[in-house]
């Protein structure tokens, strides 16, 4: 078997409600897969199924023996007031194989190497809350990387971050992928993330479509996935999804005279305002 993991007709449910039905999916070494779908479509459940923390009620999951998986949770689920320094958070991954609480010198060296690799050198002694959004996300990627995984799973790694942070995080993930790591991530961002990935899985409790973005980002597939009509344009050979609201929101009377105003950049003045 060449696949790292293979899900064959698997079904999961929480209580009586099925969350995933008859899902077939395989991940090969070095593959980069994005999972898209509406809220409640089972994206996180599918990620946990790949991670091996859920047992299916039907179907089977076949994984390579001793497959090391790194998991990066949604940052929204992190308790930012937990007393944990960056180095402590990263070293959590070294959870087994040592009886004493303190890390070995080799573990410390490895943690520093991973922090440096992800541009977090010198931040090991800082509390995780003190970092920027992109740095915080990279801390959890570093924690996953310390497991030396073959497969990296990321649950909405760019949700709730600005465009610059999104680029920063995606750049790191792409670099890791180029070094041979298989990556599976979930995302809501069709234009900013999904359209740029090599392979997509459109999910709504079952796999609606799977393939390259140009093949699956189509009005038909998106309507089946999201249950709403979406227009797809092409820009430079890439699909661009356009949302249409049923009603246009008109400006109020007070806002009516508003016209676009662009503050000109003053020459030679690049300082932040005081």
């Amino acid at each position: 078997m060449n696949d790292l993991i293979s899900l064959e007709k698997v079904t999961y449910r929480y209580g009586r409600e099925p969350v995933l039905v008859n899902v077939d999916l395989s991940i090969s070494p070095g593959q980069f897969v994005g999972i898209v779908g509406p809220s409640g479509s089972g994206k996180t459940t599918l990620l946990k199924a790949i991670a091996g923390t859920l047992d299916p009620i039907a179907g089977r999951v076949v994984r390579q023996p001793d497959l090391a998986v790194g998991y990066v949770p949604q940052v929204e689920t992190v308790n930012w007031y937990f007393p944990i320094m960056v180095r402590e958070a990263v070293l959590m991954s070294r959870v087994n194989g040592r009886l004493v609480p303190w890390p070995s010198k080799a573990d410390l060296r490895e943690a520093e190497r991973v922090l440096e690799r992800l541009g977090l050198e010198g931040l090991g002694g800082r509390h995780i809350r003190e970092l920027s959004g992109g740095q915080q996300q990279r801390v959890f990627i570093a924690r996953a990387m310390l497991r030396n995984p073959k497969l990296l799973l990321l649950d909405e790694p760019t949700s709730g971050v600005d465009v610059r942070t999104r680029h920063d995080v995606m750049h790191v993930i792409h670099e890791l992928h180029h070094e041979g790591l298989a990556v599976v991530l979930t995302t809501h961002d069709l234009n900013g993330i999904a359209a740029h990935l090599p392979r997509l899985v459109c999910l709504n409790r079952e796999v609606i479509a799977t393939g390259r973005p140009g093949e699956v980002i189509t009005p038909e597939v998106l309507e089946r996935t999201y249950g709403a009509p979406l227009e797809v344009l092409s820009h430079g050979g890439m699909p661009v999804v356009v949302e249409h609201y049923p009603e246009t929101i008109e400006p109020s009377i007070e806002e009516a005279p508003a016209r676009a105003k662009v503050v000109p950049l003053r020459e030679g003045h690049h300082e932040h305002p005081a």
């Binding site: 946990k48 923390t53 998991y71 949770p73 937990f82 944990i84 320094m85 402590e88 959870v95 799973l153």
Partner: protein
């Protein structure tokens, strides 16, 4: 000097202060996990639940401390089980099970009026009831808790901070939860004589929150919390001798005073960098 050492002339006091110091350290240790897991209320609830267990054990002729410990452990498992049904919140599960257990204890006390044991001591703590056997019991529980936290440090930390990812990373979070519940039950049952079941929860919560005010590091929080618990256990019982207070309230009041000092210190520390930054900008 001899006046200061006078209480140590009495065997009961030596036992009591030793047990209170160990109890403070133990509560400080396990309290870190209790607080960081958002289980402060479970500590409060379980300490009440063990009262029911203690009285019921006395009625059926079982060792009170063993019975109370088993009762607390079973209560913790029941809370966990009920809370996993998402329709009932953990706080409601704790409120229902532990208050019912406390009520069972009160009913038994009012029904069997021929008790030779004074259960007021269990409620509020009493240094006079501490024996050499209690010292050994708390020391044994302390050894057990120390070994659990030492050997399970990484697993407990990971499963406290991020249980879902911990599971992906090979941590048996169910076993970690179980170990924590057993340790908590053992600590509550073995220290109830001196601290009192109505007051243990405070000793479980105040040292860790005091430590949290003083550090952002988990490992340092653990050490500071144990230190605060140890000092408060010792100082509280020592003061209770001179002020003629019940030992439990004396330990809690001492811990609350330490918390107040830490709160003021941490407020100043937080303002200092802000003031320095303002001065820099200005």
């Amino acid at each position: 000097m001899s006046t200061l050492l006078e209480p140590f002339d009495y065997g009961f006091f030596r036992h009591a202060i030793l047990v209170a110091t160990l109890a403070g350290a133990l509560c400080g240790l396990i309290g870190v996990y209790v607080v960081l897991r958002g289980m402060s209320y479970i500590g409060h609830g379980l300490s009440h639940a063990i009262f029911g267990g203690a009285v019921a054990s006395y009625v059926v002729g079982v060792n009170v401390i063993v019975g109370a410990g088993v009762w607390a452990f079973v209560s913790a498992l029941m809370i966990n089980k009920v809370a996993r049904r998402r329709t009932i919140g953990a706080d409601a599960a704790i409120g229902t099970i532990t208050t019912a257990s406390f009520a069972v204890g009160l009913i038994l006390v009012s029904t069997y009026r021929s008790f030779v044991v004074n259960f007021d001591a269990l409620l509020f703590g009493n240094v006079l009831g501490v024996t050499q056997a209690d010292v050994w019991l708390v020391a044994g529980v302390g050894m057990f808790a120390g070994v659990v936290v030492f050997l399970g440090y990484r697993q407990l930390l990971f499963s406290t901070f991020d249980p879902e990812v911990a599971e992906v990373s090979g941590v048996n979070t169910g076993r970690a939860d179980m170990l924590l519940a057993i340790t908590l039950a053992a600590i509550l049952a073995s220290t109830m004589n001196v601290l009192g079941v109505t007051l243990i929860a405070a000793v479980l919560v105040i040292p860790p929150v005091t430590a949290r005010l003083l550090t952002d590091s988990f490992s340092r929080m653990l050490w500071i919390s144990v230190g605060v618990g140890t000092v408060c256990g010792f100082a509280g019982v020592y003061l209770s001798y001179y002020l003629d207070w019940a030992s439990g309230p004396a330990v809690v009041v001492t811990a609350a005073a330490v918390f107040a000092v830490a709160y003021v210190v941490s407020s100043f520390r937080r303002r200092l960098p802000a003031a320095a930054a303002d001065a820099h900008v200005g």
